[in-house]
């Protein structure tokens, strides 16, 4: 109470220092009157607005700045004043009527500051009694006295004032802290606070803007308003580095000088403040006297005290058993009885890990393990995964691009090979967890299946066949080329002696060649394309059947032994027409004399184009195939009797080719997909062979008569063993393109096939007498020579009757002999 009274007393004792100053503005005006002229205001104008002569700046470039320091205050006084005056003058020009520039005001200001110090002193004198720090007081006094000494009657810089004021304020605050902490001085605080709030001191430069971010005032010359509502101007803070440095070097208190943001002035911290800061930095309490480790008073100690803590008698309820508890206990008992609550499990003391496989039974494999498919191990890394792989394993730019564009599942590598110069540079692999996770997924989610990996040597897959060398003879090289035709050579036939060759071509000629010399012996022009030629297989008869357009010509080539072909002519001439005229599907005509000289003896005129003509092995009968849809597609003619008949009553499809069995009275008819074998004696169907082909092109029968080969346009060659099955014994797909013709050799176990791809493949086709042994088929030679023309290659192949020679005729208008 006494202290409070004292405080109040001091307040009352404090003289109202400057009533005149207070009169200038409303006492607590937050918004001062704008543009109000103030004496000191001009000093805070930006320097650029001072129309200072350059000379001055040169003489004393830091003049204004230096004036900030108290130490140079006096020596710079004069210049400063002059400068101020000049500035005032300048300002006067601008705002003439409003400005009241006079040095008197300045002096008045100085007076004010003096008064302030006085008043403050008086205040402190009041506090000194309550035991405040003396050193700060002294310092303040020092400063004051210094100020008084040096600046008597001169201008005290605003900054100095502000600093002093703030210092005092700090002191006050500091003191208030102390007084708070000290119980004895507890009463001092309200006193000081009261005084501070009440301060009507003119020079108390306290900012009234409140707790706002000070950068709001960044663009203004002032930082806020004092209690009188006057602007508080920013001090001129244009210290450059040099100034700062000088300050640092010369000011012993530089380290304890901080800037007050609210007023913008530099404040020198007092010793207490410094100590406070240091204490806080150390993490100690701000108050020196606070003891955080005070001995604890143990109220409820183990020692029984004589006196009870409370003297209240025990409640009645402490003697009566609690109903609530009883209920709870009974509930628990019930729960235990019912087995709802189980006692705590005894701790298991078995070790976590032990020898699990102590009694190992290798036979204890469970039933399910039979189907167990162990997970495959992860692939081991290759060179490309190295952190420093050989350069060839790094991807080039294009490969990288391709890698990035590929889908993740399609990539061969699931990472991009990288090269690092040293181990230090290797970063973490970003997809490590991903990869482990994917492995986990694979292990439990991926369906497993045992895949039998064929681990065979490819050489073992190749069938072990007898060497072609051991299967000789067979044609290997091209021996002769028969040139002369101008169109593609469609068909070939050879005389039974093997001396003469006949060929029919699209250029409308039939040519007779000598086999050994490749000489064209005779050319027989016919009208139209020659579809088929067939030399009579009977060596005693010299006749060639030629299918041209709608007729079949029987030609006597007049080659070789004159007796022989003369005999043939005689046989033909000796024909006597039968007495009764029989109905025939064709008309037989004897060739006219012009044609007779060329060799044509008989003409069998069919009503329709003839596709093929073939002789019976005895040489009397010949069969012709017509391009027709009806049942008269096949006709069988008897040359000696000039008699023809149509053997079939019904059509079974388009007939491709026909063939007589070499030994028995059988007749092969190939339609598009089937080959039918008719017994001519019994006149019935003996067998129907399923070729498995789309379109049969040609067929040939083995000279023994039990095997048949069948070429088709869908590149297949089917070998039928007639005794075995109606399905092919072997299907060969050797050619790339459609097969045009196939042929068997009369004596050697050879057969050949010619195809549109221009090649002739000669195969060894051995048929054994032993019925149990299957025929052996070995391809022995691929003969090439014909140049494909108009998508056609080899059109006909033919074996020499006695030699292992092969003739082939092609679309390139040549006939070639391979030997």
């Amino acid at each position: 109470m006494a202290a409070a009274i004292l405080g109040r007393l001091t307040v009352t004792a404090k003289p109202p220092s400057e009533p005149a100053g207070r009169m200038r503005g409303p006492p607590h005006c937050l918004h001062p009157v704008p543009g109000r002229p103030r004496a000191l205001r001009l000093r805070y104008l930006p320097r650029a607005r001072f129309p200072l002569p350059k000379r001055r700046l040169e003489v004393n470039p830091g003049g204004l700045r230096l004036s900030m320091k108290e130490r140079f205050e006096c020596c710079k006084q004069v210049t400063f004043l002059q400068q101020g005056k000049r500035a005032l003058a300048a300002y006067g020009v601008v705002m003439g009527p409003l400005s009241i520039p006079s040095t008197q005001v300045l002096e008045e200001q100085a007076q004010e500051s003096d008064d302030l110090t006085d008043s403050e002193e008086s205040v402190y004198s009041g506090l000194e009694d309550s035991g405040s720090d003396s050193s700060t007081e002294e310092e303040a006094e020092d400063q004051d006295s210094g100020d008084e000494g040096t600046l008597k009657g001169s201008l005290l810089s605003k900054k100095a004032q502000a600093r002093m004021a703030s210092q005092k304020k700090e002191q006050v605050q500091c003191r208030s802290l102390e007084t708070e902490s000290m119980p004895s001085a507890q009463q001092g605080l309200p006193l000081r606070g009261e005084y501070e709030d009440d301060s009507s001191d003119e020079e108390d430069v306290r900012n009234t803007v409140g707790n706002i971010p000070m950068e709001w005032y960044q663009d203004y010359p002032h930082v806020g308003y004092d209690l009188d509502g006057k602007r508080i101007y920013k001090p001129i803070r244009t210290k450059d580095e040099l100034d700062k440095f000088l300050d640092k070097m010369e000011n012993p208190d530089y380290w304890r000088t901080v800037q007050d943001k609210q007023t913008g002035v530099d404040v020198r911290l007092t010793d207490e403040q410094v100590e406070l800061v240091q204490r806080l930095q150390k993490g100690q309490f701000g108050d020196v006297h606070l003891n955080p480790y005070e001995p604890a008073v143990d109220f409820f100690s183990s020692q029984v005290m004589i006196h009870p803590v409370t003297n209240r008698p025990a409640d009645k309820r402490s003697f009566i058993p609690s109903l609530l508890e009883k209920e709870k206990v009974s509930k628990l008992v019930h729960a235990i009885k019912m087995g709802w609550i189980k006692p705590r499990k005894p701790k298991e003391d078995t070790p976590t890990y032990y020898d699990l496989w102590a009694q190992e039974d290798p036979n204890s494999i469970l039933g399910r393990h039979k189907m167990h498919v162990p997970a495959p191990k992860l692939r081991l890394p290759g060179h490309e995964e190295s952190y420093n792989p050989p350069p060839e394993y790094l991807l080039s730019e294009e490969e990288k691009l391709a890698w990035e564009q590929q889908e993740a599942a399609e990539r061969k590598l699931n990472f991009l090979p990288q090269q690092y110069r040293c181990l230090r540079a290797v970063p973490a692999y970003a997809r490590f967890i991903h990869e482990r996770f994917e492995r986990c997924l694979d292990l439990y989610l991926c369906p497993r299946q045992r895949k039998m990996r064929v681990n065979v040597d490819p050489e073992d897959l190749i069938p072990k066949l007898p060497k072609p060398r051991d299967l000789q003879p067979f044609p290997t090289t091209q021996a002769l080329v028969y040139r002369g035709h101008t169109g593609l050579v469609r068909c070939l036939s050879i005389s039974p002696s093997g001396q003469w060759l006949v060929s029919g071509s699209d250029d409308g000629t039939v040519r007779f060649w000598e086999v050994s010399s490749a000489r064209c012996m005779k050319t027989l022009p016919v009208e139209g394309v020659v579809k088929s030629v067939a030399w009579n297989p009977n060596p005693a008869v010299c006749l060639v059947a030629v299918a041209v357009e709608q007729s079949v010509l029987l030609v006597n080539p007049c080659l070789g032994d004159k007796l022989l072909y003369g005999a043939t002519d005689q046989v033909i001439e000796a024909y006597e027409p039968p007495e009764e005229e029989r109905l025939q599907p064709v008309t037989w005509a004897v060739a006219a004399s012009a044609e007779h000289t060329r060799g044509v003896r008989l003409i069998i005129r069919h009503g329709k184009p003839v596709k093929q003509v073939t002789w019976h092995p005895r040489g009397d009968y010949l069969a012709s195939v017509l391009a027709d849809d009806g049942h008269t597609q096949v006709l069988i003619h008897q040359a000696s009797k000039r008699w023809s008949q149509s053997p079939f009553r019904r059509s079974k499809g388009q007939v491709q080719c026909v063939l007589f069995h070499p030994l028995r009275p059988f007749f092969f008819v190939a339609t598009q997909r089937y080959v039918r074998l008719y017994n001519l004696l019994k006149q019935e169907l003996a067998k129907k062979l399923l070729t498995n082909c789309k379109w049969v092109s040609s067929m040939a029968v083995h000279p023994a008569g039990d095997n048949l080969i069948c070429g088709s346009y869908d590149t297949k060659l089917a070998w039928f063993d007639l005794d075995l099955s109606t399905k092919p014994y072997r299907v060969l797909r050797h050619h790339k393109k459609a097969l045009r013709s196939v042929a068997f050799h009369k004596h050697y176990p050879l057969f050949a096939s010619g195809s549109d791809d221009g090649s002739v493949i000669v195969c060894h086709g051995m048929v054994y007498n032993d019925l149990l042994q299957n025929p052996l088929i070995v391809p022995v030679k691929v003969l090439k020579g014909h140049a494909p023309a108009r998508d056609l290659g080899v059109l006909d192949v033919l074996f020499h009757p006695t030699q292992p020679w092969l003739f082939s005729s092609g679309a390139d208008a040549t006939i070639r002999l391979f030997a």
């Binding site: 498919v373 190295s386 350069p391 299946q449 069938p463």
Partner: protein
């Protein structure tokens, strides 16, 4: 015929398989529990041979389990534990909701738990089976051991993984069974041979993980649960086989326990022990002290059907392995602090070397940098200011390459700051026809005892000769010329030895060539004809195989060409540099 009509899908493969959903319903488990059960029991879907038959005519994509597997799961005691756990969680939630803390505590005390021992015994009836399946377990545990102790999984799991992996590494050190190591961009691969089984695992580089969001950690955690149990049992057995204590004890620990060590200053007792173990610098204590006299000389029995050559090869291989085990014996290494300590210390210790590091890097350092007995210092920085004479300063790759080469490689290529030779994978064994990088060829030659460095050195010498001034160059050239002459003579001698009969070269040789060629042609044609005669299926297979072979060849030639181009490029670069310098 008679009899009842047979219904479809009531016999045969359709009844042997069961879809996943049906299996789940049969087991009365949620999908998560089913998944967990499948992971723990090692049940996986099977791909039926005829999917459509199994799928009852439908072609929808379904996963099928073997019905037998699912029936087998029905009797699994763990299924009941899962259910118990579910009940426990429900009770606990209820108690929490009612704030009955006593109940919560009581429930937590009685938390149902399960053990996986019987499952491991069941899945791996013999120890060898377990070893065979250890790859994934180790990789997973090594990954989990590097996880941060936050969030992703239980801290106990991480610690357990760390402990188990360290134990395994210590076993590998003690048994010296490491065979191959490989620094890949993904991590470090190790291959050890334990009881004749190759075990490969990968450990990630020691970096923080960037945890991906599209990974289900529950699945991984379930796997890890199983793997840790497996690894624990395997470790126990392995330690037992070497007469080592399990849990491992550091040799000479008895004395160490009496006096407090500096390590205990910053770590708890048990932790520091674990740390010391994981430092991999101390050897382990044995139950029975090893007696060198006890080492039984293994009698050798010739295996039937094994030729002498094979036997010799086997012997040689064994010898090589024995030699490799003692690769770093007698060498003392020091690891600089920038070197990844754990892998390299592990590798060096596996081959009998002694290793230390800076005391501040990790506990367990045995000697200082200044130790004069250090023979190799592993450094991974471009240059070193202070170098001590008497030891090699090498990059870490040297250790890895030496282990893979089964011999201490020449050090010159591995000095700090030097451009390292490529690091090759030891897991690739090239068959003939595959591409072999030239570095590998060099290495193979080194292993055979040849010194390819001579030739290459000569080349370099030549290069340097060109670089250097004339006087030195002339000397070198003379030297090389002499060598060349010697070589030529040798070659000639060899030639003359090879030809015992003086055969005159005549015109006939040309024909001989022709004959060979024609024979070759004939053969190839034979082959072509034989291929024509192949059956369709075999032909398809043959063509597939041949296609694969051709692809391989193509790949090899591609690599070879790339290498050639690269070499040419580097050479030309060198030349231009030289020209510029001049």
């Amino acid at each position: 015929m008679g009899g009842l009509e047979k219904k479809k899908y009531e016999r045969g493969s359709a009844t042997n398989y069961i879809t996943r959903n049906k299996a789940r319903k049969k087991l009365q488990l949620s999908l998560a529990d089913f998944r967990r059960l499948c992971i723990l029991k090692g049940i996986y879907p099977h791909e039926p041979k005829h999917k459509k038959k199994v799928n009852k005519g439908s072609t929808a994509a379904r996963t099928f389990y073997l019905l037998k597997d699912i029936k087998f799961l029905l009797h699994e005691p763990i299924v009941n534990k899962f259910r118990e756990y579910k009940v426990f969680v429900r009770k606990l939630r209820k108690a929490y909701g009612k704030s009955e803390w006593n109940t919560v505590e009581r429930l937590k005390d009685n938390k149902p738990s399960y053990k996986l021992d019987h499952i491991i015994k069941e899945r791996y009836p013999t120890f060898i089976d377990a070893l065979r399946d250890l790859d994934d377990a180790l990789s997973m545990c090594f990954l989990f051991a590097t996880f941060p102790r936050t969030g992703k999984c239980h801290v106990q799991t991480i610690q357990l993984c760390r402990r188990l992996t360290m134990e395994f590494l210590n076993y590998v050190i003690a048994s010296r069974s490491l065979r191959k190591v490989f620094l890949s961009i993904k991590g470090i691969y190790y291959q050890a041979e334990v009881l004749g089984q190759p075990i490969t695992w990968i450990a990630p580089y020691a970096f923080a993980h960037d945890h991906p969001t599209d990974v289900d950690y529950r699945v991984m955690a379930t796997f890890t649960e199983f793997y840790t149990t497996l690894l624990g049992f395997v470790n126990f057995r392995l330690y037992q086989s070497l007469n080592l204590h399990y849990p491992p004890k550091i040799e000479g620990q008895a004395e160490a326990e009496q006096k407090p060590e500096e390590g205990q200053a910053y770590a708890m007792d048990s932790e520091s022990y674990m740390e010391k173990l994981s430092a991999l610098s101390a050897s382990l204590a044995r139950v029975v002290a090893p007696n060198p006299e006890d080492e039984v000389q293994v009698d050798e029995f010739p295996v039937d059907g094994e030729s002498v050559e094979q036997e010799e090869a086997r012997k040689k291989e064994q010898e090589a392995v024995e030699k490799q085990k003692k690769l770093f014996e007698g060498l003392r290494f020091f690891l600089n602090r920038e070197v990844p300590r754990e892998p390299i210390a592990f590798i060096i210790r596996c081959f009998g070397g002694r290793v230390s590091w800076d005391k501040s890097v990790c506990i367990g350092a045995t000697y200082d940098v200044r130790d004069p007995t250090i023979t190799h210092q592993i450094v991974d920085r471009p240059s070193l200011e202070k170098q001590v004479i008497g030891r090699y300063y090498l990059q870490p790759q040297w250790v890895f390459d030496s282990v893979n080469a089964k011999m201490c490689l020449p050090v010159a290529d591995y000095f700090p700051g030097v451009l390292l030779p490529p690091h090759l994978s030891p897991f690739v064994s090239e068959k003939d026809g595959d591409y072999i990088p030239p570095e590998k060829l060099k290495l193979l030659a080194l292993q055979r005892g040849e010194n390819p460095a001579e030739e290459s050195g000569e080349e370099e010498e030549d290069d340097s000769d060109e670089d250097d001034d004339d006087d030195e160059g002339s000397e070198g050239e003379e030297h090389s010329e002499k060598e060349d002459e010697g070589k030529l003579k040798k070659l000639e001698e060899q030639r003359s030895q090879g030809k015992k009969l003086p055969v005159k070269v005549s015109v006939g040789t040309v024909r001989l060539e022709d004959k060979q060629r024609s024979a070759q042609e004939e053969q190839s044609e034979e082959k072509r004809l034989a291929i024509m005669m192949m059956k369709k299926r075999e032909k398809y297979l043959y063509q597939k195989i041949m296609f694969g072979k051709k692809r391989k060849v193509r790949e090899a030639t591609r690599l070879a060409e790339k290498r050639k181009a690269h070499d040419a490029a580097t050479k030309s670069e060198k030349k231009t540099k030289k020209v510029r310098r001049e």
